[in-house]
Amino acid sequence: MVETVISVRDLSKSFAGVKALDGVNLEIRAGEIHCLAGENGSGKSTLIKVISGVYQPDEGTIELNGTRHDKLTPIEAIRGGVQVIYQDFSIFPNLSVMENLALNHELSQGRKLVNWRRFRTIAKEAIAKINFHVDLDARVGDLSVADKQLVAISRALLHDTKLIIMDEPTTALTNREVEALFRVILDLKSRGIAILFVSHKLGEVFEISERFTIIRNGKLVVTSLPEELDHKKFAHYMTGREVDDVRFEQPETVGEPVLEVEGLGLEGALEDITFTLHAGEVLGITGLLGSGRTELALTLFGLFPTDSGKIRVKGRAVRLGGIRDAIANGIAYVPEDRLTEGLMLERSIADNIVVAELDEFTSPLGMMDSTRRQSEVDRWVADLKIATANAENPVNTLSGGNQQRVVLAKWLATNPDILILNGPTVGVDIGSKSDIHLILQDLARGGMGIIVISDDIPELLQTCRRILILDEGRVTAEVDPDTTTEQELSDLITGAITAGVGV
């Protein structure tokens, strides 16, 4: 008889009329790796918050280590061995690594005073558990995303932990980091710790989980074993509809070069980057964390002044002194983090769509032409199938996938020649993801030059005509997806194998 760490029965929870959870049952056994999957907004995070005592359920029971809790508090959950690593890691960006590591532990011990020497000992112990090397006195806000996550994981391990819940831990990680994370997870499992792993990536569910649960619209769809799952079924469980997943037909010929980058350098980040993007092609760019991908994108978007090199747009040499220069030259950028860089969450969908082209609807006196604005909004809501009843609703009422479409709409509305997407489907569910891929193909066919920066290997292979691999700020390889397997691409990225640089 395997011990059950936590079991929830008939859990329901509503927010202002929205039923986020509707009669969910879930049981997690000691030492198992359990995947929780579901589309954006299906209620995964809410379920986790209920299990960890952050939210009180409206209905249902929680049984933790055999004890029934009517009103589970965060501290009780922690004492019961439940640790959560949230999507945003729940760290304190203003505090040091040491403090971030030790605070939770000391709190759960009910300590009232701070002993800094103990803090350091605890912190050292924590990072040693996963062999994580970091400056304990660094401000966590200054760390990379992966390091922040490792801080959160090492923090979770400090307790007498029975269950670690990870809410979409891989969204912000590169492949190599994901692999490292999986090694950590397997190590934890071997110590008898249960893992509840939230993801909506099929590959991950297959690779790591022993059992999985899928929820849709707050309701449990299925709990089963991965062996019984294939891609079609997975997509069907998640979305309730059929989704295809085949490599897109790439065009035989492409158009004129729209973007030529030659010898581009940025101190400490990029060195001698040279490539050409043609009209009508989707160019993939990938690399490890710190390879300079984001710097490259932001440099092309005018954010960082370059140290050396030339950029030509449609044959004209340009100087990108700022974002507005880039936009004026027909360059658009869909950022990595749509919540902080892409969207004004409390503003309306309409506002977010038109923000980059407001000046187009403005009369010389500065008045907004509301009819033209309205028709533009209507057009993009229809074209990109943004699921909303009213475009005047705040954008934060949309699901992640639809939010990403809004960002896309904003940039397409500026009618760019070059569209750069940094992680176009990060945190986007399987249905929306495939929609976004289709949109990108359509745009390319329409003559746009598209750069997709991603570390989602299937995504790259599926959508790109060519893929550039960056390493330490240099282009180390160019890959033809038609002749490359997932494994080969992954090995190239991690540097396990090398290839000649094609230009």
Binding site: T294, I323, R324, T340, E341, G342, V355, A356, G366, M368
Partner: protein
């Protein structure tokens, strides 16, 4: 017919924005209360006229504070700008219009003075905007510093003394009653408020401000020129303050470095009571105008009760503010919206 359309728009607005609706209810309640308790006084024409002359002074300043707060900033320097610019205007009138000047001379002098005051206000505001957006000093500190600075300049120019003896035409113009009814300061306020409404809700500039105030990083990533927008915003606030200064100049027939010092915090109180979020991105002109009217009616109403000392005024103002923000809204959506804001403010590292 006319009146239903006139009313239906604010009502529809109120329905969409429960906070504004709440202010509206409070206003109606107040009016009803004073009507019943002090019918004669409250219905008297003079009461309304006197209110119409009074509130434009701080109301105009509050409009400027409002627009800066929409961007997530604040403008504490409005009173300083108002006094500095009205002193500039007064100095010009005094030097250009000698006591025996002809009507034409006076008109020219006044027009030049008004123009100079508006330009000075704009420059002072632009200076605030520059410090906020380019030097990136927190707005609360910038405008506290410039409040001292502008007041300091006003004191240096005048050695602290009032500048009076303005051309009579100036006082006559601003003291006039349009159609014998509407005081000119009220008219000015209405015009500026309408202009502000147009700027905020009809021009793309206003739309950009809300975007900037909601998420400055995303606004920048969307190609908005945030530094320029902020400079323009503070410039508008400076111009509003300068207009308020011209009203002060007329109402007191003189300019001085320390008129209206109590208005600094009053304007902030009005703006937050009007439902503008100090973190930026949220708030409506209608709410702020309602807040201005509510506070003015409260204040004038209070003066009708000799037994109640003026010292209760802050208590009542503060009480109204706390009550308005404490009334739960059933579903509590307002608070949640404010609540979710904070999280997006954290730094993003390009890693």
């Amino acid at each position: 017919m006319e009146s239903t359309t006139l009313l239906s728009r604010p009502l529809a607005l109120a329905r969409r924005d429960p906070y504004v609706a709440r202010l509206f209810v409070i206003l109606v309640t107040l009016v009803a209360f004073f009507l019943i308790v002090r019918t004669d006084n409250f219905l008297s024409f003079g009461t309304w006229q006197s209110m119409g002359v009074q509130f434009p002074e701080f109301g105009l300043m509050a409009l400027g504070v409002m627009i800066t707060m929409i961007t997530g900033g604040i403008d504490l320097s409005v009173v300083g700008i108002a006094n500095m610019t009205s002193i500039a205007a007064a100095s010009i009138m005094l030097s250009m219009v000698p006591p025996d000047a002809s009507g034409g001379q006076a008109t020219v002098g006044i027009l030049v003075a008004v123009a100079v005051s508006l330009v000075t206000g704009a420059l002072a505001g632009a200076f605030n905007g520059f410090l906020v957006s380019v030097v990136k000093i927190p707005a609360i500190l910038v405008t506290l510093g410039t409040l001292e600075l502008f007041t300091g300049i006003a004191i240096i120019i005048t050695a602290g003394k009032p500048l009076s003896g303005l051309p009579a035409l100036y006082g006559q113009t601003f003291g006039a009653r349009l159609f014998g009814v509407v005081p000119v300061p009220l008219l000015i306020f209405v015009v500026v408020a309408i202009a502000m409404g147009v700027v905020m809700h009809k021009m793309s500039f206003g739309s950009k401000l809300y975007m900037l105030g909601t998420n400055a990083t995303a606004a920048r990533f969307s190609g908005l020129h945030s530094a320029r927008l902020l400079i323009q915003t503070y410039t508008i606030s400076g111009v509003c303050a300068a207009i308020a200064g011209l009203v002060l100049l007329a109402n007191y027939n003189s300019a001085k470095a320390d008129y209206g010092v109590a208005y600094t915090l009053l304007t902030v109180l009005i703006v937050v009571l009007g439902g503008v979020d100090p973190n930026g991105g949220k708030g409506k002109l209608l709410g702020v105008v309602l807040a201005i009217v509510i506070l003015q009616i409260l204040s004038s109403g209070l003066n009708m009760f000799p037994a109640i000392s003026n010292f209760y005024r802050p208590l009542i103002y503060g009480g109204v503010l706390l009550v308005v923000i404490s009334i739960s809204e059933g579903k509590g959506r307002f608070w949640k919206r404010l609540n979710t804001r904070k999280k997006t403010k954290e730094e993003v590292v390009v890693s």
